[in-house]
């Protein structure tokens, strides 16, 4: 794992760095004029500054990926759907109270086989973005996708999901319609499925709203997509008030495809054209199609029960912890 040496970041990170820098300069000046040397203090401060700079550099690098993952010109779910699947037919509605357009769901063919395709849809222009609520789903959206997943499950169609959402919609009406329950049920439904589920993170993978569609037998992630328990902005709001906080939080959250592969949360990184998927969407779609076909091939001969078990196994082994028999409170 990519560890870093700094463990504690002061509240006002940049000011602190600057202060350290000035302190170091001052020490240097004093030793220059007085002949008294503060080697240890100097070294410590220099190291601190170096680390701060390293962190800053990493944060900026990560932030670029965050920005790329949100780039409006990136191919979105509809672009992948229309270019990867043949004969796609969109299905609508939760059969209960609403059609939520922030999630697109339907049936299509890939390599001659029928699959269900479900993905967040942020919308391609302002009008659509407002109509699709910027890809933030209501409980009804997750209920529609559950309906389509269950339909696919019944007919033995593999399921492909595209993840691209800032998160589930956080609004009063969403709460009153059971947002928590809808997400949890979506997870449950995905664990019940006896068909292959291939998940692709194509842009923003925001929290529970992303996870709700992301219980896959195989989880792939575009190089510049992100996947996180909380948005960097949300995290920074909790941790710091510094405007640079979001960048630092992005780095701390380890939300990039490389970190996620490292942690075993995803199975594959799909590399994007130089500069990001938006520079050559046609090629991006073509590449992704190949990987989806490969992923589907992997599970061609796996039977339903095994698929379900593999999915359970995969997610139930996620976690890092230590076992210690020492009594933490022996002195109490």
């Amino acid at each position: 794992m990519d560890l870093n040496e700094i463990k504690e970041i002061p509240k006002n990170y940049f000011k602190e760095t600057l202060r350290s820098f000035f302190k170091l300069e001052k020490l240097k000046r004093i030793s220059h004029f007085s002949g008294v040397h503060f080697n240890d203090a100097e070294k410590e401060l220099a190291k601190k500054i170096e680390n701060y700079k390293k962190v800053e550099k990493e944060a900026i690098k990560t932030w670029k990926i965050v920005e790329l993952s949100r780039n409006e010109n990136r191919p979105h779910t509809p672009d992948y759907i229309s270019n990867i699947f043949e004969d796609f037919i969109e299905l609508s509605g939760d059969r209960q109270t609403a059609e939520d357009k922030s999630i697109t769901a339907g049936l299509g063919k890939i390599n001659g086989a029928t699959v269900a395709v479900i993905g967040h849809n942020k919308g391609k222009d302002i009008k659509e973005r407002v109509e699709f609520n910027f890809g933030m789903s209501m409980p009804q959206g997750y209920r529609k996708s559950q309906r389509v997943m269950q339909l696919a499950g019944r007919f033995g169609f593999p399921i492909i999901t595209f993840i691209d959402t800032p998160g589930a919609y956080a609004a009063l009406e969403a709460e009153d319609s059971g947002q928590a329950s809808a997400i949890a049920k979506s997870l449950l439904t995905m664990f019940e499925l006896e068909v292959p589920v291939i998940v692709v993170l194509i842009g923003e993978g925001g929290s529970g709203g992303a996870l709700a569609l992301a219980i896959g037998n195989y989880v792939m992630m575009l190089e510049n997509s992100t996947y996180s328990v909380i948005s960097p902005e949300g995290c920074a709001a909790i941790l710091w008030n510094d405007p640079s906080g979001s960048k630092l939080a992005a780095r701390a959250l380890k939300l990039t495809s490389r970190s996620l592969l490292h942690m075993g949360v995803i199975d594959r990184i799909i590399f994007e054209p130089l500069g990001g998927a938006q520079t050559d969407p046609v090629r991006m779609v073509r590449i992704l199609k190949r990987y989806i076909v490969l992923a589907l091939d992997k599970f061609k001969n796996t039977d339903g029960k095994q698929l379900k078990e593999q999915r359970a196994q995969k997610f139930e082994t996620m976690g890092f912890l230590a076992e210690s028999s020492q009594d933490l409170f022996s002195d109490k």
Partner: protein
Amino acid sequence: MDKKQPEKIKCKNCNKEIDPDEFLINFNICPNCGYHGYVGAMKRIQITSDEGSFNEMAQDLNSVDFLNFYDLKSYSSRLTEARLKSGLNEAIVVGDARINGFRTSLGVMDFSFMGGSMGSVVGEKIKILADYSIANKLPLIIFCASGGARMQEGIISLMQMAKTVSCINRLRENKIPYICLITNPTTGGVSASFATVADIIISEPGTLFCFAGPRVVEQTIKKAVPPDFGSAERNLRNGQVDMIVERKDIKDILARLLKLFKN
């Protein structure tokens, strides 16, 4: 005798002074307005299970700072502090217990341990508890109290939502009953995972139970949320919980449900 009287405390709801002894005896419920105050995992176990019946499991699992997560403090130091503050080694305590004689698998979250946030250890303990339920055919009971996922474990904390729901799915396949108790507050990743896929969901009165907290929602919709936002009463009306049960009656209702499920 110069032994100090315990300081008077004030109710968080009605703001009246409460006699600390009475508060303690009364399961941390305000004798004046009925407000259900915070109760820790150990006290909850004591008031819910038969005396001496609780056998803790998996108490040796500890969180590790695998992301080297820095915050105002490091995750490691936060963990140490939380351990000292709560007297627990993680945000959930799990074990085998009896409730009016009925043997169960019991998990109790504690909000005082880093806001009851769910990280790898909480997920793993729930898995161990669910597996224990399945192996011994014991009903599963979990008391929730959580601010959500544990940010300091990044994506891995999000994955605990999936992990715990998968365990509950296996529990369902094995036809083991699962009752979830919602205590104040239960929000975020816990409410959107194992809490809401229970067979029976019971809420304490006045409990905040929602996915996104009131402040987050206010930021999204740019206006104030109603005063009963996420309250147990609103959740009952909106079909999210089966019933609201006062703390003093929870042991009894659990025993009655366990009797029904023990067909």
